[in-house]
């Protein structure tokens, strides 16, 4: 009987998730629409007047004029909605995939109810209604009564609240010394436990604040005006929705060219990761499964080179990619292949080979022999058996490598700095963060709001990737023990 309701619950869940997804798409669309509306103020001569960013402006859209404050409020609202809706959606999907009837209990019913309320706050009435219905379906699974039963129960529950419990006749107990001591001990123990819990949580909360403050300040400062962030001796710690300056992000993306830099970084990340995956899989397979003379020796040599600091490699590699070597960066003359110099040296990584080899080794040899008996070649075994079995690890390596490319600084800076202004076109985002000028035009005071907005632009995708792929990342780092 319960199973029927559980199946119904899952169906309702699926429908509500679909609507959640549609809502998320709606939020994103609205966000992009309003973001496009923002126009950078032009000064004399047609150039962007960075100094005028702070002043409220008026934009045109299909329904007439709209104030920049309204635009900002809508954008912030959408951003907050997305921050709440997307995790809820992801968790909902995971629960739907793995949900078992045994996990259902009363707290889960309450949780469902709160989800319904949140949907209402997110201006998603359809989802709210469906979630409410599914709450009661869940109630039926847990407690065998549904909405109607719930309503019927209310009067009796209220009565219970106001009834006084009849005092039970307690037999006068002889409380001797031992009992008293025992009771005191237990209460002391409980007190100690509670206070320990309290202090532990306090400590953890303090540390969490220590970790989170930079992030919070980053988000707030990125949405401040120039005055607020750089000049005001008393910048506020909170911002009204209407005061959030989303124009900062537009400025950073367009005027300060960060859109281009992000594109460069994505290209480098994808190319170098693709190369790394291919070389690593092939090499790890050779080290794990193919018996050849000197295998262990060669592998030990590779492990030993992991000890060498990267700075030693960079010096020679710089020479190698410049005029005397491959000529990718020719230091002054034209025809520079910056992307080649930034990707090819990083198309392989010893620590990933080590990591993947360990996973490959865990596949039992008998599988290989069975495949050999069936006439399977080494390459086919690799692609049809090993890679699917090790796919989580390979996925982890992909993510870690992309993260590494996103955060790359030293080498890209070295490479692009040789090219002067031409090199600037090939900046990766970390380099741009450090080297781009955020100064007030014509002055040397830094426009912190823009600089921090650029930092946020760099950091937020990382956080999103982390939250989505957290398991893979933490697993991979734990096992490989390095940053790759």
């Amino acid at each position: 009987m319960k199973n029927i309701y559980f199946k119904r619950y899952r169906r309702q869940e699926l429908i509500s998730l679909i609507f959640d997804f549609l809502a998320i798409i709606a939020y994103i669309t609205i966000f992009l629409m309003f973001f496009r509306m923002i126009k950078l103020p032009l000064g004399e001569g047609g150039n962007v007047d960075l100094g005028a960013l702070a002043y409220p402006q008026v934009y045109q859209w299909t329904f007439g004029e709209i104030k920049s404050e309204t635009v900002n409020t809508v954008l912030t609202l959408m951003a907050l909605f997305l921050v709440v809706a997307i995790p809820m959606f992801v968790i909902g999907v995971k629960k739907l995939k793995n949900g078992l009837i045994y996990d259902v209990d009363l707290p889960m019913t309450w949780a469902k109810f709160f989800q319904a309320l949140i949907s209402l706050l997110l201006v998603n009435p359809i989802s709210f209604v469906i979630k409410l219905i599914s709450t009661f379906t869940l109630l039926r699974v847990v407690k065998d009564y549904g909405f109607i039963g719930f309503i019927k129960n209310i009067p009796s529950r209220i009565k219970q609240l106001f009834e006084k419990k009849p005092k039970e006749e307690k037999e006068p107990e002889e409380e001797d010394e031992d009992t008293i001591r025992l009771k005191k001990n237990i209460s002391r123990q409980n007190f100690r436990k509670l206070s320990r819990m309290f202090f532990t949580y306090m400590f953890l909360v303090l540390i969490a604040l220590f970790i989170m403050i930079p992030f919070y300040w980053m988000v707030i400062a990125s949405l401040m005006t120039y005055y607020e962030s750089s000049v005001n001796p008393n910048p506020s710690l909170f911002l009204l929705f209407s005061d959030t300056q989303w124009i900062n992000y537009k400025t950073v993306l367009q005027e300060l060219n960060f859109g281009l830099y992000i594109k460069n970084t994505v290209i480098v990340a994808l190319v170098s990761t693709a190369g790394t995956i291919i070389t690593t899989i092939l090499a790890a397979y050779a080290f794990a499964k193919i018996q050849f003379k000197g295998r262990e020796t060669l592998f030990s040599i590779l492990i030993m080179t992991m000890m060498v600091p990267g700075e030693i490699f960079i010096i020679t590699n710089f020479i190698t990619v410049s005029g005397n070597g491959f000529g990718w960066i020719a230091m002054g003359t034209g025809n520079n292949h910056y992307f080649l110099a930034m990707t090819i040296p990083f198309m392989t990584s010893i620590s990933y080979i080590f990591f993947l080899r360990q996973s490959f080794k865990q596949v039992p040899d008998s599988l290989y022999r069975a495949a050999r008996v069936d006439g399977c070649s080494d390459f086919k075994y690799l692609t049809r058996v090993m890679i699917p079995i090790a796919s989580p690890i390979i996925f982890t390596i992909t993510i870690l490598n992309i993260l590494g490319a996103w955060n790359a600084f030293i080498w890209p800076r070295l490479i692009t700095s040789t090219g002067g202004t031409e090199g600037q076109q090939y900046w990766l985002i970390s380099v741009a963060l450090r080297d781009a000028s955020f100064n007030v035009p014509g002055g040397d005071r830094i426009m912190y709001n823009l600089q921090i907005a650029a930092s946020a632009l760099v950091t937020v995708p990382l956080i999103i990737i982390f939250l989505v792929f957290r398991k893979y990342i933490m697993n991979g780092i734990g096992r490989s023990g390095t940053k790759g």
Binding site: P364, S366, L367, R369, A370, A371, V373, G375, C376, I389
Partner: protein
């Protein structure tokens, strides 16, 4: 497909140069279409022999023939064999269906034929309902049947099984060994399986090959080998409870146990190892006296212990012929069931 092993030898050399002879000069002919057991204690070279027949190990010396073809240098996939590993070696990320179809991808047959074959095999081993499950969702017995199906789907000339039943629990073992016998009978493929369990080998095989330290001990049908062991090792290896061995003397063509003459025997005088199986004793009024040291009633049979020439001897008799608490009984031995073995070589020399 008859299999012939000629002077097959395998010597392993480890990193420090120490050599181990796993298989020593094996000469065996395995009849076509039969279920053969490679039997022996751990480390006797049976798995090594199996892998050499499969082609996964290269013999140090000797030749292997499948029928008239010499396959000694041939790669495993060219020999036309099916191999079932001890731990089944099923691909964990593929369904049962995909596991069974995998070998067919390396043959050149049409996809419809491949699917037809797979279904045929699935029906043969009784796993039709499990085709869409992954190996982790199957029990041990089911996994093994999938492994057998995968090995047979290529229509191999020879089916090899490496300790197929050792990973199963006792009841499943009984069931699966009968399954293996049935499958072999239906397909008529020459099948060789490796085991260390003599009861298992005896119950289903048509022919047994017993090995010890890489040396062939005897090749015979199970019951033949049981009744007429070629040497003391085979005699001791087969049979549960194991055979009783005591020292005996032959003088003037008569075997004596201590001072008592047992019977006439056509061997030279001297000391011999004498073997009598526990079940070959009979309670006989005309037999010799025996002081019972222990009695174990096991349902249909009763196991009694007594001392004979200093050796603790077991006898397995009908429960009806022994009363609990009995201390003396008269026993005799069935005709021809006393085996004499040479003390040094262990070879059988005669029977009484």
């Amino acid at each position: 497909m008859e299999i012939r092993l000629e002077h097959l030898t395998k010597i392993f050399t480890d990193k420090s140069g120490i050599e181990t002879t796993a298989v020593n000069d094996l000469d065996i002919v395995i009849e076509s279409g039969k279920l053969i057991a490679l039997l022996g204690p751990s480390g006797c070279g049976k798995s090594t022999t199996l892998f050499m027949i499969a082609g996964l190990h290269k013999p140090t010396e000797g030749k292997i023939f499948f029928g008239d073809d010499e396959v000694t240098k041939l790669a495993p996939e060219k020999r036309g064999i099916g191999l079932v590993f001890q731990n089944y070696a099923l691909y964990p990320h593929m369904t049962v269906r995909q596991n069974i179809m995998f070998p067919l991808e390396n043959l050149r047959i049409k996809r419809e034929d491949a699917i037809a074959r797979m279904n045929e095999m699935a029906a043969l081993v009784n796993i039709k309902e499990l085709l869409d499950r992954k190996p982790a969702q199957l029990s041990g017995g089911q996994q093994q049947r999938v492994a057998i199906a995968r090995a047979l789907v290529k229509k191999p000339r020879v089916l090899l099984l490496d300790e197929p039943l050792s990973n199963l629990d006792a009841r499943l073992r009984l069931q699966m060994r009968e399954e293996i016998k049935r499958i072999q009978r239906e397909t008529q493929i020459t099948t060789i399986f490796v085991t260390h369990d003599q009861e298992e080998a005896m119950s289903i095989s048509d022919q047994m090959v017993v090995l010890n330290f890489g040396v062939k001990q005897q090749v015979d049908a199970p019951q033949e080998m049981y009744n007429n062991p070629d040497n003391i090792f085979v005699a001791k290896f087969l049979g549960n409870p194991p055979i009783n061995i005591f020292k005996g003397k032959v003088k003037n063509n008569t075997l004596y146990a201590g001072k008592t003459p047992i019977g006439p025997v056509e061997v030279q005088d001297g000391q011999y190892d004498v073997g009598v199986r526990p079940e070959d004793f009979r309670v006989d009024d005309k037999g010799f006296d025996v002081n019972i040291t222990e009695i174990f009633h096991i349902g249909r049979d009763t196991l009694i212990h007594f001392d004979e020439s200093g050796t603790d001897t077991r006898a397995l008799v009908d429960s009806d012929s022994i009363l609990p608490g009995q201390t003396k009984v008269k026993l005799s031995v069935k005709k021809g069931k006393i085996h004499l073995f040479d003390e040094t070589s262990g070879l059988v020399v005669g029977h009484v």
